[in-house]
């Protein structure tokens, strides 16, 4: 008998870190499966997390596949399931099934410069691919991160970003002026124009709010990036995660299965249903 | 011998009259069966039909809504609205074939500890022969 993909594997929350407080809080969870299983994933893939009694939510895995000890998810409190996750404590049990989705085509990117552009919680899917690339530095060209949030308080992975600066170029921004902020002030797409990453032998990966992605892509194009050089991820409401329940489709693509990673060359031809 | 069926009753008691009446029953050390779990609401007028349906859905064998006597409502007229609303719910539940004994309404003033005691005793006695309420109980 084949595995019943709908049955989640139980996992224990081993660490919870509060990334962002306030009205739109974000927490990062590290989980460990209670029983060993062959859960292996690619960067950019997602997993369906269960809070039993509340339901499931599709969350992108923010840790790198190179780490086998735990899975990491950074979660914005948004609805029924994510609110329950935010209420959980270390040691609590959740369910995980997956991984789902296509993931980033990192094989294709070998030898190229990687430009990561993120906004808000959009850094979570990037985080996985960024760290994988960082670990395999020799396989890729120069990497750079352009990341912004509403305010400095809304920036996720604050300490890790400080660490990251030692290893790659990191350009941060906040949307509105605030005292003590020394880096760029303004929306992420504007920071992209400010920094002017070179399209030459590069791949740009952008995740964040749809409106940000829209203008980042516009600005990348203005900088000379081709559609094929731009990658992004798409979010839609999901239930099954395996292309059957029928709700997350964009045209004939099921985001859960055929996505969530798309190059702009692919995405621009799909109907705007996300 | 099989254990006697003990009906589960949810009672929505208004704070000012019925819950106070129930308190009086306690202060007077009256005795009544422990089948009722009271839920204190501010006014019988605040008892939404949804509360009643939900209680039956969650397995209540009986539901009681109790408020102040007409004219005595702490909030002047909440119990009059309750009376109308509950009458409709009661008729509807009766219509779909739920035993009418399962859903009751009463006026119990803060001075009527005895009446409250009697209502609970009667309610439990009336529900016992009916057995568990399965008609509207969750069958997931």
């Amino acid at each position: 008998m084949k595995d019943n993909t709908y049955i989640p594997k139980l996992a224990k929350i081993i660490q919870i870190k509060e990334e962002v407080g306030g009205a739109r809080p974000i927490k990062t969870f590290r989980t460990q499966f209670i029983q060993d299983n062959n859960f292996s994933f690619k960067c950019g893939q997602c997993a369906m997390l269960s809070v039993f009694g509340k339901g499931e939510s599709m969350i992108s895995i923010s840790s790198t596949p190179l780490i086998k000890d735990y899975l990491q998810f950074s979660i914005l409190k948004m609805g029924r399931v994510t609110s329950s996750l935010h209420e959980m404590q270390e040691g609590d049990i959740i369910g995980i099934r997956g991984p789902y989705g296509n993931g980033f085509p990192m094989e294709k990117w070998k030898g190229k410069n990687l430009i990561f552009i993120g906004g808000g919680i959009g850094l979570a899917p990037i985080w996985s691919v960024l760290h994988t690339a960082l670990e395999k530095k020799e396989e890729y060209g120069d990497s750079m991160l352009i990341y912004g949030a509403r305010t400095s308080k809304d920036i996720v992975f604050k300490q890790e970003l400080a660490e990251l600066r030692k290893k790659m170029k990191v350009h941060l921004s906040v949307d509105v002026e605030e005292p003590g902020w020394e880096e760029f002030i303004g929306f992420v797409p504007l920071n992209v124009l400010e920094i002017k990453p070179s399209p030459k032998n590069s791949v740009a990966v952008t995740c964040g709010p749809p409106i940000m992605i829209k203008f980042v892509i516009q600005n990348l194009k203005a900088l000379g990036f081709e559609d094929e050089q731009i990658y992004t991820t798409v979010e839609n409401k999901m239930k099954c995660g395996i292309g059957k329940c029928g709700r997350c489709n964009i045209g004939l693509h099921y985001v859960c299965k055929d996505g969530p990673v798309y190059s702009w060359a692919e995405l621009k031809n799909l109907p705007q249903e996300y | 011998m099989a254990e006697e069926f003990e009906p589960k009753i949810v009672a929505f008691l208004c704070k000012w009259c019925s819950s106070a009446g129930s308190d009086l029953a306690g202060v007077s050390r009256m005795e009544y069966p422990p089948n009722v779990v009271p839920i204190q609401v501010m006014c019988s007028g605040s008892v939404s039909p949804l509360y009643v349906l939900s209680a039956f859905n969650k397995g209540a064998d009986g539901v009681l809504v109790s408020g102040c006597h007409p004219g005595d409502c702490h909030y002047i007229k909440g119990n009059f609205y309750a009376r109308r609303r509950i009458a409709l719910v009661k008729r509807l539940l009766d219509f779909i074939g739920l035993e009418p004994q399962r859903f009751q309404m009463s006026w119990v003033s803060a001075a009527e500890g005895t009446k409250y005691t009697q209502i609970i005793k009667d309610f439990v006695q009336e529900l016992k022969p009916l057995g568990p309420q399965t008609k509207l109980r969750r069958d997931l």
Binding site: F52, K54, K237, I242, G246, L252, E273 | -
Partner: protein, 346 residues
Amino acid sequence: MEKVLDKKSFPQWVKKLSSYTVYAPVQEDEVWNYEVITNPEQVNLDFPNTVLSPKKIIFPQREVYLEFSASNEDGLEVKEVLPEEEPSVIFGVRPCDARALTLTDKVFGGDFEDIYYWKRRNQVALVGLACHTPPSPNCFCLSVDGSPFSKEGLDVLMSDLGSKYFVEAFSKKGEQLINPAKTLFKPPTEKDKKELDKNRTEAKKRISRQIQNIKKIPPKLKGMFDSSLWDEESMSCLRCGICTYLCPTCHCFDINDEIFSSSPLSGKRIRTWDNCQFPDFTMHSSGHNPRQGKASRLRQRIMHKFQYFVERYKNYQCTGCGRCISRCPVGIDIIEVLDKVSSYEG
């Protein structure tokens, strides 16, 4: 395998299938539906279209995935719940509904096999009944590559020859149905075959409704995502779930946790039908809805059936049963909509 069965012997055949759970159309008031049969005499194959197709047996509206409860050790216990495997047979399956199952097979197969679907699918044998006269005035199977005597998806097909049935078995499952009652079946005569042919020719003629230029529609739809046609055609749509719930090919579902108790926790994870016409189907928890408005939802239904599905699986996701037309509370007619797509300019 081709046989004939005297109509009078039909109940006896059903009787022989005592090891099966037998489903057949049952009438209650004015409504026909497939129900479990306890008395073989009860089976009446003289029925119009059932309200729900056999989809409701193989892909039931409610399927329990798992049960969960608080436990002392790990804090939580999760138990997989699978449908019980027992052979069953459905009599009186319309060819269009059987074809529909071949389409849901595609959806529930593939990379991730849906165990729940296949557990039920594999144990059920489908005995079809060819449509001598269209069971609904809105039948249009011929337009979508089907026919009133299509064998696709069926294990057995019965065709009415007046006093007897012409019975064809196409699969091992089908033959296994006939074997226990072998003696009841006779080989068909040439006359029987001729009559069958005649009936079939006539049956086709009786289907009055058809989609114009169906072949043109999938490519045409590709360019019509932003068309104003959807607004116009959806004006009267009420956003109910009739067209999709009744559709034999629609397969969308929802998964929810339904609980008995929150402390200590106990409950079930349950799959239920869902459908693209409900506004909450695609709504994100942020409130953003990629398919805001009923025009986008009507478009999704049409596009899914006549473009996306065609592109993915090379079939229309429609078998022409006509239920969505007959039962639409406001008379939205998929044939009319598709005809408008065909003739749409601009």
